[in-house]
Amino acid sequence: MAKRVSLSGNEAVAFGMKQINPDVVAAFPITPSTEVPQYFSQFVANGQVDTEFVPVESEHSAMSACLGAAAAGGRVMTATASAGLALMWEMLYVGASMRTPLVLAVTNRALSGPINIHNDHSDTMGARDSGWIQLYSESAQEAYDNLIQAVRIGEHKDVQLPVMVCYDGFITSHAVENLEMLEDADVKNFVGENRIAPYALLGKEPMSMGPLDLPNHYFEHKRLQAEAMKNAKNVILEVAAEYEKLSGRKYSFFEEYKMEDAEAAIVVINSTAGTAKYVVDNLRAQGKKVGLIKIRVFRPFPAEEIAKALKNVKAVAIMDKLDGFSASGGPLFNEVRSAMYGVADGKIVTSYIYGLGGRDVTSVNIEKVYSDLFSAIETGKYEVYNYLGVRE
């Protein structure tokens, strides 16, 4: 039986970690993620988990220690945000290429500079090409559910990759929500008692981890890594199906909200989807054919599936909570638009950069996006690149 509880996003993640009971957690505090390792260190101190908890001196060391622990075959987790993730950067790539599954909970926070502690997606979006699987979460419930599924996805024999579980700083990490937690025994059963590591130090075969790889093999090494990311697509769906049986909650690559006959759609990530669904409901009540796609899995990118989901719209706005400084729209915009090529051609496709550094995103902002889309459909005139809610 699942338990109904009221928890903040950080609490939900920390309790999820407690149920997973990893072998090693090495962490360094950073707002707004601090509470996750902090609550967890209390479970360790109380003997409620069997985890080795290492309060290391920086995130670079946190990720290095996590990779060492995973190389030794352990089940490993940690948490961070913003500059902390940036300081892990070098090790993110190393971890993905060493094929060390581990789970990193990231409370999305704007990356310095200017220094800012509030939410946007510049931290994890910057790490999108590091080779990690990335799962995004609208709510504390989704952060919890993603965390538990992440263990299984990353550790799957066809995948063996690290996974980031992302949720919005403060908005999701600190707001208290009602959610459903699984029974401890069910989680234990779902993730399995121990990680089964096909390759580990002091494992079945003699082993060196992280060796030099020059032009002779580096490319093949990377090619295999790319294949693992492709494999992850099936595994994500398989794990979601199994998780649905256990929890009753359905997960896929993305959520389609009122998309069946939608003419105007937006594509969005994380908590803003909640605000946007409210707007969709209101506009639907007025008879407007609007819909929404909320991305859950950004890596691997579900390109074909998204393009298919957008096949019947007339106009779509793609919303990035970061500026990629490409001078041609944010990364989500570019990937979705490119996915549509040849599958969903001839649509109006626009980019909106919004909410940087914690700028509030209200229903009025989202209404404006839909109204821009309808005006584009009616007049054929529109701006491709837009900034939402900024003073100019």
Binding site: T31, T34, Q42
Partner: protein, 250 residues
Amino acid sequence: MAVVFEPTKGLLDVPTHYCPGCTHGIIHRLVAESLEELGVIDKTIGVAPVGCSVLAYNYFACDMHEAAHGRAPAVATGIKRSLPDSVVFTYQGDGDLAAIGTAEIVHAAARGEKITTIFVNNCIYGMTGGQMAPTTLPGQVTETSPYGRDVKLQGHPIRVSEMLSTLDGAVYVERVSVDSVANVLKAKKAIKKAFELQIEGKGFTFVEVLSICPTNWGLSPRESIKWLQDNMIPYYPLGVKKDITQQEVK
């Protein structure tokens, strides 16, 4: 009425964000008074850390640079190399300096950078809400050591002044405290001397200041002062750890 005391020109006339009773404010004043008395406010550049003193740039009357967490000594190195006639200081907490920034401080000292570091040791990560720092005392309760720091699990505290005093590039290293009037006066002398030696081009100077964090220690300011005296000073003995201008080196 005769004016007997005036606020230092080294600090701006603005309220600070520090918690009531926090000694960061006293330490700010000692730095500012030293700069004023040495007549160098206009040629000083301070480097603020990440930690409770992240907003120090709002308070000091000199030019300031805000550095990423732990990187202040490296940033200060660059500033001083670019403007060798300036007076450059970093102001850092024990998380910033003794955890994430350990490499930067050790190497700035080893290179003998002509900068001054004011190291505020309050045995805890203040800004993030009271987690264990490398300087947390054995047995000290923090958010991440709820039953007290267990040195078997979490290792031993680092005595940064003693460690840096072994480096040839460091010319002056002293540990002071701001727990009493007498110690505040001694702290002032040390900070001023550190800046003097920098101005004379002698090398890297370092003053560690034992400071309180009533908020995260869960004590009143008065109890915190007593806690500092009873626990911190025995573990972190005060005094000059290195002074190349004196014959006797402790």
